[in-house]
C-alpha cells in the first residue's frame, strides 16, 4: 500500500468556487503561496510537483551581494515549531536574475521576489533591478532584517526605519508591480508599523515573519544556534500570526488604517489553518515551515482552502476576507 501524499492529500476541485485572489494589481490563480526562505526559488519543489499550480512562489530573500549566511548549527526543532538562523544565505541578485528567475518564468510560476538589504538604499537598488524583469509579479520587502545603519536594530521594529525602506522601494517601483511590506511580530504595536508602511506607499502587507526565540543546548550548555538567537516559526506561532492579521485588519475596518491586502503567514499546515487567516482578514496566505514537514503543503493547503471556503458557501476568496469581523460585529449588534 502506497499512495503519493501529494495526490492523496489534495482535496478535489471545489465546484463552483472561484479560487482567484489579488494582491493589489497582482492577480493570483489561488491564494496559497510559498513563504520566503521555505521554498528556495522553487526549483527543488519543482522536482516534486508543478510549482505553476501554486498561487505564487515567494523567493528566499535576495540580497545585492552573495552572502554565506551564518555558521552551523542553524536550526533547532522546538515544540510544534523550529528556530532558524540561516543569515540570509544566497548568491546575490546577479545569480538570481541569471538562474532562478528564468527558471520560474520558464516553468510558468508567478514569482514574488523577496528582497533584503543592509540599508534603505540597498533595498531600493534591488527593487530597481527587479521591477522590469519579466516574471516578477510582486516585490516583498523583508524589513525583518538588521539595519546596519541603526545598531543592527531590525527595520520592522521601528516605524521610521520601516517607512524609510518602504518609501525608497515604492519610489523606484513606481506602481509597476505591487510592493508588499513583510512585518515582524516582535513589536509592541503592530498597527503602528503597518501604518508606517501603508502611509509610505506599500500596496500590501505580508504578516508575519518569525518571532525571535532561542534554545539552550543542555549538553553543551550554550545556545543551540551558532547565531545564539533565531527566528521561531511553525504552528507554534500561528495564534500570534492570526492575532496580528486580526489587529491590522480590524484597524482597517475601523478606518484607523488605509485598507490594503494582507498576506497571512505563520504556522499554516492545513486548509483550515489558512481559513483562519482569511477569516481574520488575509486575502492570501503563505506556507513556510510546514513545507519542511510536508513538501506538498503549499499545494495541498490551496486545495483544502478552496474546499473549505466552498463548503461554507463562499463563491470566491474575497467574500471571506475578514468575515470573522463581520460575524463578531453582528453578534455585538444583537
Amino acid at each position: 500500500m502506497t499512495t503519493t501524499a501529494t495526490s492523496a492529500g489534495s482535496a478535489g476541485p471545489a465546484v463552483g468556487f472561484d479560487p482567484r485572489t489579488a494582491i493589489g494589481t497582482l492577480e493570483l490563480k489561488n491564494p496559497v503561496l510559498t513563504a520566503s526562505g521555505c521554498a528556495a526559488a522553487g526549483r527543488e519543489l519543482g522536482r516534486l510537483y508543478d510549482v505553476a499550480a501554486l498561487g505564487a512562489v515567494v523567493t528566499k530573500s535576495i540580497l545585492r551581494d552573495a552572502r554565506s549566511g551564518r555558521p552551523t548549527p542553524r536550526m533547532a526543532e522546538t515544540p510544534s515549531g523550529m528556530l532558524n538562523s540561516i543569515g540570509l544565505q544566497g548568491p546575490g541578485i546577479d545569480a538570481f536574475l541569471a538562474h532562478d528567475l528564468p527558471w520560474l518564468r520558464d516553468h510558468g510560476a508567478t514569482a514574488v521576489v523577496s528582497i533584503a538589504g543592509n540599508d534603505a538604499a540597498e533595498f531600493a537598488e534591488l527593487a530597481g533591478r527587479l521591477v522590469d524583469e519579466p516574471g516578477v509579479g510582486a516585490v516583498e520587502v523583508n524589513i525583518s532584517c538588521p539595519n546596519v545603519a541603526n545598531r543592527g536594530l531590525v527595520f520592522a521594529c521601528d516605524p521610521g526605519s520601516s517607512a524609510e525602506v518602504v518609501s525608497g522601494v515604492v519610489d523606484v517601483v513606481g506602481g509597476r508591480v505591487p510592493v508588499l511590506a513583510k512585518l515582524s511580530p516582535d513589536v509592541t504595536d503592530i498597527v503602528a508599523i503597518a501604518r508606517a508602511c501603508l502611509d509610505h506607499g506599500a500596496d500590501g502587507l505580508a504578516m508575519v515573519n518569525t518571532t525571535l526565540g532561542m534554545v539552550v543546548d543542555t549538553d553543551t550548555m550554550r545556545p543551540v544556534l551558532a547565531g545564539v538567537t533565531g527566528g521561531l516559526s511553525g504552528p507554534a506561532i500561528r495564534p500570534i500570526a492570526v492575532r496580528c492579521v486580526w489587529q491590522v485588519h480590524a484597524a482597517m475596518r475601523r478606518g484607523d488604517l488605509r485598507t490594503a491586502p494582507i498576506v497571512g503567514i505563520g504556522g499554516i499546515l492545513t486548509g483550515l489553518d489558512a481559513l483562519q487567516f482569511v477569516l481574520a482578514g488575509a486575502s492570501a496566505v503563505q506556507v513556510g515551515t510546514s513545507t519542511f514537514h510536508d513538501p506538498s503543503a503549499p499545494l495541498r493547503v490551496g486545495a483544502e482552502l478552496a474546499q473549505a471556503l466552498a463548503a461554507r458557501g463562499f463563491a470566491g476568496v474575497a467574500d471571506a476576507v475578514g468575515h470573522a469581523h463581520t460575524v463578531l460585529a453582528r453578534e455585538g449588534a444583537r
Binding site: 501529494t6 526562505g37 552573495a66 549566511g69 552551523t72 526543532e77 523550529m82 553543551t220 510536508d294
Partner: protein, 322 residues
C-alpha cells in the same frame, strides 16, 4: 537492482549550477505501510512498502520520514539512509520495498522504531546525491561506523558487480552497534570484511582507521559513512595514501529537499570557491578533499561549521560584503 550512477562528478558542483549535470532521480512523497520492523543489534530494521520511491532509489541516497502522529509536535523530517531498495521484493509479495536501519536517538527516531507492521509512514525519497562511481578498476574500501554501514552493503554489491575489489571495514563502539556484518560478508566474502570495536567486543580493538590504513594505497577509492570525526580520520588516511574519499556526512537537516539552507557545511567547489553547501542536495556524499576541515569543529554533540573567511559571501570585518 540499480547500478551505481553515471560518471564520477569531478567535484562538488556549486549550489547555483547544480541541476544541469545531475542525473539523480526526482524524489516522490509516499505514504508507506510498514511491512516489518525487526531488531538488529542496537538498531531496528524497517521494511517499507515504498512504491515509486523504491523503484527510483540509488545507493547513497536517503529518505526523509515524517515523525509523530498528527498533530505532531515534531515538525521536521528525520533523514535515514536507504539500506536497500528492492522493487518486486519476493519476501513481501512482490512489493517495492525500501529498507532502513534506525538507531533510537531522540524522540523522532524512537517514534520510528516503535512503528508496527501495518502502520503508515510518510516518506520523501529518494533524496541526495547517490554515491559517485569510482574510476574503472579502482580498488575500493567501504568504511561504516555504527549504523553508517547501512547504505554500504548495497554499494558493495554494485561495486563488486562492476568488477571492483571491495574491502569492507565495519566499526562501532561495541559489538551490538555493528551493523551489516553478515550481509557484507555475503557480498564480498568474509575475508574482505574487517571489524573493529572500541571495546574489543568484536574484531580488532581499535578504530576503523586501524583497519583502513593497511588497505589504503594510491588510487584507492574509499566510501565512508559515520560520525564526522570518523569521516575526517578516514579522509586523512585515504588522502595520505594518495587515494580518494567519498564521505556521507550527517548534518542536521530541517527539510531534506534543499529549500531551507540549514544542512550546510563549507565545501570547495570545482571552481575552487568555498561555499556553505547543502548536504541534502549537493551531498550527503562529499569528496573528502573538498571539505573545509579547517572550519569544522567536532565536539561531543556533533560537528559544527564556521564560515571560512574566503567563503563566498563571508562577512567582512567592516563595511559591505565582497
Amino acid at each position: 537492482m540499480s547500478a551505481v550512477t553515471g560518471p564520477a562528478p569531478a567535484g562538488v558542483p556549486a549550489a547555483e549550477t547544480l541541476g544541469a549535470r545531475d542525473r539523480r532521480p526526482d524524489p516522490v512523497q509516499v505514504r508507506c505501510a510498514v511491512l516489518a520492523n525487526e531488531p538488529d543489534g542496537a538498531y531496528r530494521r524497517l521494511v517499507l512498502d515504498a512504491g515509486e520511491a523504491a523503484r527510483r532509489a540509488l545507493p547513497g541516497q536517503f529518505a526523509a520520514l515524517a515523525v509523530g502522529e498528527p498533530p505532531t509536535a515534531m515538525l521536521l523530517r528525520r533523514a535515514v539512509s536507504i539500506h536497500a531498495a528492492t522493487p518486486g521484493d519476493r519476501r513481501f509479495d512482490g512489493a517495492d520495498t525500501l529498507e532502513i536501519v534506525v538507531a533510537p536517538h531522540g524522540p523522532g527516531t524512537e517514534w520510528v522504531t516503535r512503528r508496527r507492521a501495518g502502520d503508515v509512514l510518510d516518506v520523501v525519497a529518494p533524496l541526495g546525491r547517490p554515491f559517485p562511481a569510482p574510476e574503472v578498476g579502482a580498488p575500493t574500501v567501504l568504511v561504516g561506523g555504527g549504523y553508517g554501514s547501512a547504505p554500504l552493503v548495497w554499494l558493495a554489491r554494485d561495486l563488486r558487480d562492476a568488477g571492483h575489489r571491495v574491502d569492507v571495514v565495519l566499526g562501532a563502539a561495541s559489538r551490538d552497534k555493528l551493523f551489516g556484518l553478515e550481509e557484507a560478508a555475503a557480498v564480498v566474502g568474509p575475508d574482505l570484511v574487517h571489524v573493529t570495536t572500541d571495546d574489543g567486543s568484536a574484531g580488532l580493538r581499535g578504530r576503523v582507521t586501524d583497519a583502513l590504513a593497511p588497505l589504503a594505497r594510491d588510487g584507492v577509492v574509499v566510501y565512508a559513512c559515520g560520525p564526522m570525526a570518523m569521516l575526517r580520520a578516514v579522509h586523512e588516511v585515504a588522502a595520505g595514501a594518495g587515494g580518494t574519499s567519498w564521505l556521507a556526512v550527517e548534518e542536521s537537516m530541517a527539510c531534506g529537499i534543499g529549500v531551507c539552507m540549514t544542512c550546510v557545511l563549507p565545501v570547495r567547489g570545482e571552481d575552487g570557491v568555498t561555499r556553505m553547501t547543502r548536504s541534502c542536495v549537493e551531498g550527503p556524499t562529499f569528496d573528502g578533499d573538498r571539505v573545509r576541515w579547517d572550519a569544522i569543529s567536532i565536539g561531543p554533540g556533533g560537528a559544527t561549521s564556521a564560515v571560512p573567511a574566503d567563503c563566498l559571501g563571508a562577512p567582512v570585518a567592516a563595511g559591505k560584503g565582497h
